[in-house]
Amino acid sequence: MQIYLPIADIPVNVFLVLAMGLAVGFISGMFGVGGGFLMTPLLIFIGVQPAVAVASVTTHVAASSFSGAIAYWRRRAIDVTLALTLLAGGIVGSAGGVALFTWLRALDQLDLMIGLSYVTLLSVVGVLMVGESARAIIRRRQGKPVELRRPGSHAWFHGLPLKLRFKRSKVYVSAIPVLAIGFIIGFLGAVMGVGGGFLLVPMLIYLMRVPTATVIGTSMVLTFLTMVSAMVLHAATNHLVDAVLALILMVGGVIGAQFGAHAGQRIRGEWLRLLLGLLVLAVGMRFAFQLVLRPDDLYSIRLIGGAP
């Protein structure tokens, strides 16, 4: 069944988009990430303009992370103080990201920038995650304790002022690196159409030493809040959010996320991280090939003045 998307200006198959929403929702529920890093490339692949894809996916990620956050809230696995501190940085970052997005689009370099950011981020994060989780799996096989929490190992930013106590996460750190992480996540979210969960989760675990138990729920809350702010900003400045596309995606997404969350609880943490790392790496490689291989057509056209 075909349906015409009013902002993207193309007809799409409802069931195809719904299936994409379900699949990405499943993954996002399973790993506690928004799934934007998968959904945006998929939409571009079926013919949605990159700018509309980025702007509309924010809505989908907002919905699926909201339903995820509610589930974690019931399990009391959310650190509200941490989420709000991250959010303060995140909103500033989103505004900066939307501004850069608008500017790059005018320079004909938006697609390149989206491609480059995907390759860099996904490859780095993917490699780090795969490496770390593989080591954890090997340690477990050898019968050693998996969780190597070294209380003495403090990085330089742990000594910064403005210390805050994040009770539920049982950490006591400076607010400055937390705000900075929030800023980076918000910024990338607006430029790349990703919630940033795949970045936030490892950053909180490895840099801030937040326990895995509260990381995913907290990341979902932050993802949800930054995505809502990025989406409203995109709608107000670039007029590129396709509500019809977003609705189909989010209906699939939230249903998928519920099943994903249940599946995720049956898998061990390090295996989950290994799988997510491999997935992230695969998407990064896909973008890298696209940048490096000679394109089928060296020419492309773009309407001036943006989508109607």
Partner: protein, 260 residues
């Protein structure tokens, strides 16, 4: 009425007749099946039919050769940028771009046989007949002009053809009788909305002998138009409403799937 005025009027009519067509023996009548194409949620492209007939008087009836029809459909004009990628440090980057000033966003040239068989190259250029002879002016150093043998122009035409937005078909016009013809105009799914003009030209023995024009409009209606208007005119409200929609969807899902 003075003699002088009658003379002037007669001269004016004579000049008009001489100027309008080399031989005003035929009249061309054409109409479209539909003047309003509505884009609704199940729109996936549409086909319009152009009907027409050649009405001839005694002088026209004496013509020996057959008629040729060329119909040109032009969509709303929108400026475009054509960009070319080049390898920079191993990756492919848009390095060069040209701005085309108001080219047609849709251009279909429909004829009953190849254009070069219908009329001379000179005539085609003069009448801007066919894609090759349609002017596509570019911005060149704050000036606007045509660039001959331009690879960017060729790329624009090729990309538009691939999307079904530009087409030139030598067999799209069919003569049902020697004077009655029909042509189908196919509008692809991603057709731009706006006003379209249809210009129909009648040729005989390589000469333009009559022309007529028609028009149609492609509009988004109902919900589609509402969404577009809302997104454009009330961006912030639209964004907030979409956010609310996301919240509701997420909340409903968490209620519906609650298992604990």
């Amino acid at each position: 009425m003075s003699c002088r005025r009658i003379l002037v009027t007669t001269l004016a009519i004579a000049a008009l007749l001489a100027g309008a067509a080399p031989a005003a023996a035929e009249r061309l009548v054409a109409s479209l099946t539909n003047h309003h194409v509505m884009i609704t949620s199940n729109y996936t492209g549409v086909e319009l039919v152009l009907f027409g007939s050649v009405e001839r008087d005694a002088a026209g009836a004496a013509r020996s050769g057959s008629y040729d029809i060329v119909a040109t459909v032009i969509g709303p004009r929108e400026s475009l940028r054509t960009r070319r990628k080049q390898r920079v440090l191993g990756i492919w980057v848009n390095t060069a771009a040209r701005t085309f000033v108001d080219p047609p966003s849709y251009l279909a040239v429909l004829a009953n046989r190849p254009l070069d068989a219908i009329t001379s190259a000179d005539n085609r250029r003069k009448l801007q007949l066919g894609i090759a002879d349609t002017p596509l002016p570019e911005e060149i150093n704050n000036d606007i002009g045509e660039v001959s043998n331009d690879p960017f122009r060729a790329a624009l035409v090729r990309l538009m053809r691939e999307r079904g937005l530009y087409s030139e078909e030598a067999n799209a016009v069919t003569f049902l009788t020697p004077t009655l013809f029909r042509a189908s105009i196919s509008l692809p799914a991603q057709v731009p909305i706006g006003n379209y003009t249809v210009d129909v030209k009648l040729f005989a023995d390589g000469n333009l002998i009559a022309h007529t024009d028609s028009a149609f409009e492609i509009v988004k209606v109902g919900f589609e138009q509402f969404v577009v208007d809302a997104a454009r005119d009330h961006g912030l409200l639209y964004g907030l409403a979409t956010a609310l929609m996301a919240l509701l969807t997420g909340w409903i899902a968490s209620i519906a799937f609650r298992r604990d």
